[in-house]
Amino acid sequence: MAKEVVRYRKATRALHHVHTAAFVVLFLTGLVLFIPQLGFLAQGGWTRLLHRIAAVIFVVAPVLYVLFNWEAAKKGIKEAFTWGAEDLNWLKAAPGYYFFNDESKMPPQGHMNTGQKMWWFIVLVFGALFVLTGIFMWFLKDVLPAASFQWMVFVHDVAFIVTGCMLFVHIYLGVIHPLMTEAWKSITKGTVSAEYAQSHHGKWFKEASKKKPKGA
């Protein structure tokens, strides 16, 4: 059997699934306010109650993760803000690869490739915007001047559109794209084959194989 490389630890996977579930609920209960034809589903406001329950999970889950996995969280957050010339080369080569299976120009990637980093960056920045504007809309509605509240709704909606579209891309690349054969496995079982790691995350694979793998 081919050698397996650990890609996401159990805690990271758990956070991913809980956060995704919360976000999907938030997305759908928000969508009914975005599409007027679906507005009837929000009658009585039960979708807004669900939205709040999911919002609590959306905030509490990463907070717990950060508290108990401080080192991993620090490393992860740093990753989202580390960009270099290689990322530009990746962006140039990406259409050729993701459309035409041309891997020749793809620079070797670290633990996250540029595309994953972009998504991760969006998750962090827009996640923060969501939470911040959401807190104002939920708890400070009566204190906040109307003009400020209006901007909160506006920013919340912009974040909804950006992250909503990117969520489609994320799900597509994770589960549907013909070449991402082990992305789903990496987030459910936590491992990918050495072969996949080498071709998709060459730089990371090199570094990871230098270290003694822990119980892998």
Binding site: V32, L33, F34, P36, G39, F40, A42, Q43, G44, G45, T47, R48, L49, H51, R52, Y98, F99, F100, N101, W138, F139, K141, A146, A147, F149, Q150, W151, V153, F154, D157, V158, F160, I161, V162, G164, C165, F168, V169, Y172, I176, H177, P178, L179
Partner: protein, 272 residues
């Protein structure tokens, strides 16, 4: 045809019979209030008070003058609340053009509360669950309590004992209002004006005022907030386009990428 209510502040004695009639007809609960040192009561609009008379006290050499205003939905032609309402609970009445409201459709989001240039809609909101429904004047067209459909005037108008409230064809009321302003000007009220003729493309509640609107605490030049326009007319259509392009793009990518993969596999096989 559009109908409207004309409120003549100079004929109003603030008897507040309209407030009572509104509550009675629309089956709105009474609120217990405390003495705040003014005859004005209740202190503010609420989910159970759709209209009230506001007292503005203007100091005179001796004592004070009262400026009375009617606080209730102004039924704008360009209504911010209709623009931001996500569920269609707020909508323009097809025949008369005022802002109708179907409380059964309300999701309780409260956007109308924050976007109304007149600060009129009110909610009763549970801060933790966020559950709430809004309430505001419906021109007495609440289903089951529809006076207009029955050929009646709104309850407040029917009750008014001094003729300060009129309900009629809007054009007719504009003419009456203008004439009244002229009379007031001749009598020495130089600032007399008709509020609501052109504001927000014409309000369905017109005010005859003997002083400038801001003396009554009314916005001088009410506007649909710029954020509402940027949000509803720019960002949300862009959102639809972005969402559509994303989904179509991903579909196309799948078709192309799958073909490319199959072709590559075939070449590899041939080489072998």
């Amino acid at each position: 045809m559009a109908t409207a209510i004309l409120y003549d502040s100079t004929r109003c004695t603030a008897c507040r019979a309209c407030q009572v009639a509104c509550k009675q007809w629309n089956e709105l609960e009474v609120e217990e209030t405390t003495n705040r040192g003014t005859y004005e009561n209740p202190p503010d609009l609420s989910a159970n008070t759709r209209m009230k008379i506001k007292f503005t006290e203007v100091p005179k050499n001796v004592g004070i003058d009262w400026l009375f205003t009617r606080r209730a939905c102004m039924h704008c032609t360009d209504a911010s609340c209709v623009k931001v309402c996500p569920s269609g609970a707020l909508f323009y009445d097809g025949r008369d053009g005022f802002v109708a409201y179907d409380r059964d459709l309300c999701t309780g989001c409260g956007y109308c509360v924050e976007f109304c240039p007149f600060d009129v809609p009110r909610t009763e909101r549970n801060v933790i669950t966020g559950l709430s429904t809004m309430n505001k004047c419906t021109f007495c067209t609440t289903p089951g309590l529809n006076r207009i459909e029955a050929g009646e005037k709104p309850a407040c108008v029917t009750t008014c004992p001094t003729g300060a409230l009129l309900y009629d064809d809007r054009d007719k009321l504009v003419a009456i209002g203008k004439q009244r302003v002229q009379t007031l000007k001749t009598a020495g009220s130089n600032n007399a004006n008709l509020f609501g003729e052109t504001e927000l493309n014409g309000l369905h509640v017109l005010y005859v005022l003997e002083d400038s609107p801001d003396a009554y605490g009314l916005p001088v030049d009410p506007k649909v907030p710029g954020v509402a326009i940027a949000w509803k007319d720019v960002i949300q259509p862009l959102g639809w386009i972005m969402g559509g392009v994303t989904i179509v793009g991903l579909g196309l990518n799948y078709l192309v990428a799958r073909q490319a993969k199959i072709r590559k596999e075939q070449t590899v096989k041939k080489e072998e």
